[in-house]
């Protein structure tokens, strides 16, 4: 299952971090997301080690922590999406699909004229869309 989803702005400032666990591990997830930014930078800076294809927005598996898998996605506008999941066999296709839908949700959220660019995303509809996307994660592979 997906533990945490995060949007990080182009100045590496957290725009949206949502954890989907009951436990109060917000701090830990913040740390994980924050550290994953280093890997993102690394991937971007020397792209020979980067994801499947050059300059793909999907950065692939950033790094496996002790019991999480962290995936990254970097948009053209240097906005990072971080996905932290616990299940160990994740098909890249699922993750790509997830990120695609998440990206569109994000775009709709920031296209809201009342959204201040660079500020946290507080739109409730965005949160709902994200939760639905998260719920439907991996179901495509299952069914």
């Amino acid at each position: 299952m997906i533990v945490c989803v995060a949007v990080v702005g182009h100045q590496n400032n957290p725009l949206y971090i949502q954890s989907f666990t009951e436990a109060d591990d917000a701090l830990k997830l913040h740390h994980i997301v924050h550290c994953s930014l280093d890997v993102v930078d690394e991937r971007v800076n020397n792209p020979r080690k980067s994801g499947p294809t050059l300059n793909d927005t999907f950065l692939g598996l950033l790094y496996p922590t002790e019991n999480y898998k962290v995936y990254g996605y970097l948009t053209n506008t240097k906005v990072k999406f971080i996905l932290v999941t616990t299940d160990l066999d994740v098909r890249d296709a699922d993750v790509r699909n997830f990120f695609r839908r998440f990206h569109s949700a994000y775009v709709d959220a920031v296209s809201n004229p009342f959204h201040v660019p660079g500020k946290k995303i507080t739109s409730r509809t965005f949160a709902e869309r994200v939760s639905t996307i998260v719920k439907s994660f991996g179901l495509s592979s299952a069914g």
Binding site: N12, N13, P14, D24, A26, L27, H30, H31, H34, C35, L37, D38, D41, E42, N45, V116, K119, K120, T122, R124
Partner: protein, 1385 residues
């Protein structure tokens, strides 16, 4: 002397005790704690910004104790039995020449039972080279004895195994050599013990050359020779094909031996260990090829034997072979051994040199591979190999670092961080530094690992290290928006500092997390609780400038003070100054507009009383407000609680400073120089500190400072304020402070919403006689709470308020008052409060805090910013205090009541020349003094005209806007001054009544000539009755009109009673159409009921009133018709005082051209003589005033239960100057078989205008256009009878003659004679015009198909005033007139 420090040398340790893991751990722990103690010094300093961390080179960013720690770590794993490096190659036995039995000494110094276990159990070769040294001190005497001893030593131990060392410790010369000569070797030697300080230069030389030839002549040859021996053995047993095969064979045989973890035990004599020793020696002697070959050989064997430990060791050696460097290593090492120094001491720089060499080397892959192998193997061995794994990892890390592969190094560090928390903490910290040094630096991982290690440090309570690491991590998160992590860091650092007892630093860190609105509620509670706990543990109260909790939003700061403007009730107060100078209050402008024609203009007043006060510097005065000594300046400050948990603050008070006169403002002790703000802030802290120390609890001691300006804290209980301020001079000071003390009790509650109610309760139990008007502090504070809400516009708090729970108040407003007592200059510097009783927060109210906001504001605010908080205190003045009695909170529309205005002047100085103005004269009217003692409803009853006349005089006086009290009215000495007012609720809704009173001081020496008292009351007016009037001309008679009145009772429950009807106009009389009973079947009109009745409205100009058959109570003004059956009700005189005044204002207020329904609910009509005839239209307009009486119980005693409503300018006809009437037979019998029928009609035309009109009657011979329906009023529709009649005619035609219709399409009747007649009509005259109609077929016809064009011939001379409302010509559609023509047989 080598023996002397034996215990410290590794060899000695080996000799004395085994290094068990526990011991090693303990030693490391000591190292770490020692390091922690050392760098506690910089714990106070701030963590460096991350940029500087990045720029610093590796040497200083790495804590210096790491290399020492690593060395210790490595040292703990020396003397393992499976590698020969730290096996003693030779042993130096030293005996002083003073010893009496040197030979025996030598012997028993080296007998086996003293040897360590490794030697005894045969893991090492016990037959090590021994060298015997006899030390002779020349001071003990001549060396002959020593030489002789040496001689027989030689005889016993052999010739070249013995030597004599002659030293002379010269007593006088502590010849300290510039550098410790052991320094390169014995790096951990503490500089305190000055090694060899007794040695002279030549002694040192002797020492060194002894060592030199010992190593060169003895050890190296020994080792080489041993190598040769071993090499022969090995090659004999293992080289060559046969040996390999045999070896395998032989091992096969050995396989069944049970294997423990570290394989079979190899004694020194076993071939493997010999190979190993061979390899090691060769390695030491830099014969790397040989060493490598041996290691390779050995590794295969060990692998076969699964002797993992040895295998790993061998792998290490394979690596070493790659790393080994040239240079006299061997000498150094052996020398080290002899000097009793550990082989591993200089591992670091040995490896460094090795690695520099390694750079040139091609086979780094092998190195990686073997390192990996060794490491994994050690790890696989589990706990026993742990330390070796660590050591191996350290070397690996060094290797990687030297190749700038810092990331890999960090990962290795992470791998060697084992279960032991302390150990892994150190490793993680080093890993984090590796991340920092990586290119590009991976700051986030650096911070993350620092935090991890910090947690581990804390776990094995190395608090200082934990703080150090956390602070390092903090520098990463310093200026990022990762608030949660940063808060976590701040919070824990703070807690740990508190744990260390450095509470001020702890609080400095804890303060960072206070404003954490984005955290969860539990977290906020935790933060707050621990913070408070820490603060309270320190016992003293901390003072924090610009404390984050609660947030003072300056923008909501409002300052209310009374200069010449005084306020009766808090509702009347309006913000006279706020920092941003946004005049949000329209009220002030409203007040000004009210007062402008009463008071002399502000500038003039300033001037004249400035002249009277010459010693005040004018500039100072101009930029500062004026307040009166003894009157409170009220400051509304909005506090915002960002948290979801409720915080309690107490002792909110203003920080003020007071200087006796304006000119010594600056040099004053705790004054604030407003030019440089930093200095000002510091000063303020100082001043407010001692201020705080005295006023922390509001005792009398507060007064000492407050002889400048006394701070008093006031909650929203405005009543208390006013009494406090009012009594201020009269009561002894003690009483005042008692009031304040009671105030503090409340003050704790200001912040928490549920407690608001308790605030209210507390107020009530303090002041049992609170009037209901003042009894809702909760609602009051809600009101002040609203403006604070928009301040929380940042996204977090917006998100928070979406799920804000009830028990937390986002904001509240405290009202503080400062009451200066002596003249001078008072400056409100800031506000201070106490958070949960132990933390004092300050906030400067200086505008520079909100400078940027102001800068956003417009320019001209700039200059007056600093002045808003500076007050010029002038000596006390009389102050009027007014109450409006009997004012109801809610009242029905039209209710007429008598109020009484009571004015009080507590001071002895009289005030005089009172003027008053009321914002809504429609609602509130000034009565006459005699109105107080008359009984109200009765006074309205009819009196004789004399009484009425002087009432008119009074009326005239009221009609001009400002009411002047009589000259002799002076108020002083607390004697109340009462004046009646009349209230009439004119329109429904919430009405706020503003009353302003102008009065002048009795004594002319007063600084202020005049003051104004402002009173403000809010009145809720409920709708009572809706009444609509509709006036329609009655077609049957001229000069007579139908008046329809529809009454609907809009009230919820009350029922209204119908009284009487009166008409008070000469020209227009009103009479009932039907008798009263049919009109008003029931006495009263209950809620929701509607009623309508018709009246006849008759113009009396032509007809004498005597002919009127209306029931007349005859008077000049008009006639009264009593509705309602009971005659007990008196007939009210609508010309008496309050009614007529109210009616006047109604006339002014209501628009003159109203065709709409006028809401009113009175059954007494009066038609007011409209005094200006010419500005009316050609026909009159009628005004209605409506008074009614509510049925049932009179709840409030002071309601007189008379309702009056006014409907003005109801037009009597449509706007045409003429009215006409067609007269003629209604039914004609005629025989159409003969000729058509002619009918004569007369049209009487009346010109009601005051000018000559020419009228042009135009008859059309077509079916009339449908009459324009008169507008629907109050749900009344006209059913157009017209269509029905036409249908009737068509029926008749159908039944009757067909052909005549079919003969022509012309209408069944025509106007004969001239189709248009023209007449000229004088003003106010009537004429008749004959008309002739020809009808062709029977039927009922509507003769309305004519139009009257009229045009004014001469505009009258004073028509200019009403020119807007009059038109010079027009067209009137004919009235319907039905005539029926029947066939006459």
């Amino acid at each position: 002397m080598a023996m002397a420090d034996q215990a410290n040398t590794p060899l000695g340790r080996m000799l004395l005790d085994e290094i068990t893991p526990a011991v090693a751990k303990e030693r490391l722990k000591q190292v770490i704690t020692f390091a922690g103690e050392n760098d506690v010094s910089d714990l106070y300093s701030d963590p460096p910004p991350i940029e500087s961390v990045l720029t610093t080179s590796q040497s200083e960013c790495l804590p210096s104790w790491f290399r020492y720690f690593n060395k210790e770590l490595v040292r703990t794993v020396s003397f393992s039995e499976h590698e020969a490096f730290d096996h003693p190659v030779a042993s130096l036995v030293v005996v002083s020449s003073k010893d009496e039995e040197p030979i025996n000494k030598f012997v028993d110094l080296f007998n086996t039972n003293q040897l360590p276990s490794l030697l005894n159990d045969g893991a090492m070769d016990p037959k090590i080279l021994k060298h015997f040294l006899l030390v002779h001190d020349n001071l003990d005497g001549t060396p002959e004895k020593a030489l002789k001893v040496l001689a027989d030593m030689r005889s016993t131990f052999g010739l070249n195994a013995c030597r004599l060392l002659c030293l002379n410790s010269f007593q006088d010369g502590l010849a300290d050599h510039q550098e410790n000569l052991w320094a390169p070797y014995k790096s951990d030697a503490s500089p305190g013990q000055r090694l060899g300080c007794f040695l002279s230069m030549e002694d040192l030389d002797e020492l060194t050359d002894i060592m030199q030839d010992l190593s060169s002549k003895q050890i190296i040859p020994h080792m080489e020779q041993k190598i040769r021996v071993l090499n022969q053995q090995v090659s004999a047993t293992r080289k060559g094909f046969r040996n390999q095969i045999k070896n395998l064979w032989w091992r096969k045989g050995k396989d069944d031996t049970p294997e423990n973890n570290n394989g079979p035990m190899y004694t020194f004599s076993s071939i493997e260990s010999q190979i190993r020793v061979l390899g090691d020696y060769a390695f030491m002697l830099r014969d790397y090829e040989l060493a490598l070959s041996n290691y390779r050989l050995l590794s295969t064997d060990y692998k076969l034997d699964k002797a993992w430990k040895r295998y790993a060791g061998v792998q290490l050696l394979l690596l070493w072979r790659n790393q080994c460097s040239v240079g006299n290593r061997a000498f150094i090492n052996t020398g080290k051994d002899l000097m009793g120094l550990c082989f591993f001491d200089d591992l670091e720089y040995w490896e460094m040199m090795g690695l520099t060499y390694f750079m040139l080397d091609q086979s780094r892959k092998d190195a990686e591979y073997s390192m990996e192998n060794a490491f994994t193997t050690y790890l696989r061995m589990g706990s026993s190999g742990q330390r070796n794994a660590t050591r191996c990892g350290l070397w690996w890390v060094e290797m990687l670092k030297s190749r700038d592969q810092y990331k890999e190094a960090a990962s290795v560090y992470c791998r060697i961080s084992g279960e032991d928390p302390l150990h892994s903490a150190v490793m993680l910290e080093q890993a984090s530094y590796c991340y920092l040094l990586a290119k590009p630096p991976m700051l986030r991982k650096y911070g993350f690992h620092l935090i991890l290690s910090g947690d581990l440090y804390k776990k094995c309570d190395q608090t200082k290290h934990a703080i150090r690491t956390y602070r390092g991590a903090l520098s990463v998160f310093k200026r990022t928006t990762w608030n949660r992590i940063r808060d976590h860091l701040h919070f824990h650092i703070g807690k740990w500092y508190a744990f260390l007892g450095m509470s001020d630093v702890a609080i400095k860190y804890m303060l960072e997390v206070l404003d954490c609105s984005y955290q969860s509620k539990a977290t906020q509670e935790l933060f707050l609780r621990d913070f408070i706990h820490i603060v309270q543990k320190t016992g003293k109260t901390f003072e924090v400038f610009r404390l984050q909790l609660p947030i003072v939003n300056i923008s909501s700061l409002k300052i209310v003070f009374e200069d010449h403007r005084t306020f009766a009730s808090p509702a009347a107060e309006c913000i006279l100054t706020d920092l941003l100078k946004i005049q949000v209050n329209v009220r002030e402008s409203l007040w000004r507009s009210l007062e402008e024609d009463m008071i002399p203009s502000l500038s003039t007043t300033r001037n004249n009383w400035l002249d009277s006060q010459p010693k005040l510097m004018e500039k100072k005065y101009k930029e500062s407000n004026v307040c009166v000594a003894g009157e409170a300046i009220k400051v509304d400050i909005g506090f915002k609680n960002p948290l979801q948990v409720s915080v309690t603050i107490s002792n909110v008070s203003l920080i003020c400073q007071h200087s006796a006169t304006a000119d010594e403002m600056e040099p004053d002790a705790n004054s604030s120089s407003s030019e440089n703000q930093n200095d000002e802030v510091l000063r303020k802290l100082v001043s407010s500190r001692e201020l705080n120390s005295d006023t922390s609890s509001f005792t009398l001691s507060e007064v000492d400072i407050s002889l400048g300006g006394g701070e008093t804290i006031v909650v929203h209980a405005r009543v208390l304020d006013r009494q406090l301020v009012g009594k201020h001079h009269l009561e002894p000071a003690g009483a005042v402070y008692r009031v304040q003390l009671r105030r503090i009790v409340l003050h704790v509650f200001v912040f928490t919403l549920p407690l608001r109610v308790r605030l209210g309760d507390a107020l009530e139990e303090e002041e049992p006689d609170l009037r209901p008007a003042d009894r809702s502090p909760a609602s009051r504070s809600e009101a002040t709470l609203l403006p604070c809400l928009p301040q929380s516009a940042d996204p977090q708090s917006r998100g928070r308020e979406s799920h804000a729970d009830a028990d937390a108040t986002p904001a509240a407003a405290a009202q503080l008052t400062v009451t200066p007592r002596v003249e001078g200059v008072l400056n409100i510097v800031g506000v201070m409060w106490k958070l949960s009783g132990s933390l004092v927060g300050f906030h400067s109210l200086e505008p520079n805090v909100t400078r940027k906001k102001v800068a956003k504001g417009n320019r001209k605010l700039k200059h007056s910013k600093s002045s808003n908080l500076k007050f010029l205190v002038i000596k006390s003045l009389p102050k009027l205090d007014g109450v409006l009695h009997h004012l109801p909170k809610t009242v029905y529309v039209g209710d007429i009541r008598r109020l009484s205005l009571e004015l009080n002047n507590p001071s002895e100085i009289a005030v005089e020349r009172l003027k008053m103005k009321i914002s809504h004269p429609r609602f509130l009217n000034v009565g006459n003094p005699e109105d107080i003692n008359i009984v109200f409803p009765a006074c309205l009853e009819k009196k004789d005209s004399s009484a009425r006349s002087n009432v008119k005089v009074g009326t005239k006086k009221i009609l001009d806007t400002v009411f002047l009290f009589p000259e002799d009215a002076t108020i002083h000495g607390g004697t109340p001054f009462v004046w009646p007012l009349w209230l009439r609720a004119a329109a429904p809704g919430h009405i706020s009544l503003y009353i302003t009173l102008y009065y002048e001081m009795g004594d002319l020496s007063a600084v202020m000539r005049y003051r104004t008292l402002r009173m403000h009351y809010i009145l809720e007016v409920l709708p009572s009755l809706d009444v609509s009037f509709h006036i329609s001309t009655c077609p049957s008679k001229m000069e007579e009109f139908r008046l329809r009145m529809d009454v609907a009772n809009r009230t919820k429950s009350d029922s209204f009673k119908v009284l009487q009807l009166s008409s008070v106009r000469k020209e227009w009389g009103i009479s009932l159409l039907q008798p009263i009973e049919t009109n008003f079947p029931l006495e009263s009109l209950s809620a929701g009921q509607a009623l309508s009745c018709f009246f006849k409205l008759k113009n009396d100009r032509t007809l004498a009133p005597a002919e009127e058959k209306v029931p007349v109570l005859s008077n000049v003004q008009g006639t009264d018709v009593r509705l309602g059956s009971d005659t007990s009700e008196p007939v009210l005189d609508t010309w008496s005082s309050p009614l007529i005044d109210f009616h006047h204002y109604e006339r002014v207020h209501q628009p003159t051209d109203q065709k709409k329904i006028v809401p009113s609910c009175c059954l007494i009509f009066m038609v007011v003589l409209n005094s200006f005839m010419h500005d009316q239209r050609y026909q009159d307009t009628v005004d209605f005033v409506l008074i009614s009486r509510r049925q049932g119980d009179d709840s409030s005693p002071n309601s007189h239960n008379i309702f009056s409503h006014h409907a003005c300018h109801c037009e009597i006809t449509s706007s045409s100057p003429i009215s006409w009437l067609v007269d003629g037979p209604r039914m004609v019998h005629h025989n159409f078989s003969g000729s058509f029928c002619e009918i004569n009609l007369r049209m009487a035309i009346h010109n009601s205008s005051d000018s000559v009109v020419s009228i042009h009657i135009n008859t059309l011979d077509s079916t009339p256009a449908t009459l324009s329906p008169s507008g629907n009023e109050a749900g009344w529709h006209d059913i157009s009878l017209l269509n029905d009649n036409i249908k009737v005619t068509s029926d008749v035609l159908g039944g009757g003659v067909q052909k005549s219709v079919s003969s022509g399409s012309l209408s069944p009747f025509i106007w004969s004679g001239s189709s248009s007649t023209r007449v000229k009509l004088d003003a106010m005259s009537t004429t008749e015009v004959p008309l002739l109609l020809c009808v062709f077929s029977p039927g009922t016809y509507d003769l309305s198909n004519y139009v009257l064009h009229w045009s004014l011939l001469s505009v009258n001379e004073h028509g200019d005033s009403g020119a807007g409302s009059r038109q010079s010509s027009g067209t009137c559609q004919g009235h319907p007139f039905y005539i029926t023509v029947l066939q006459q047989d």
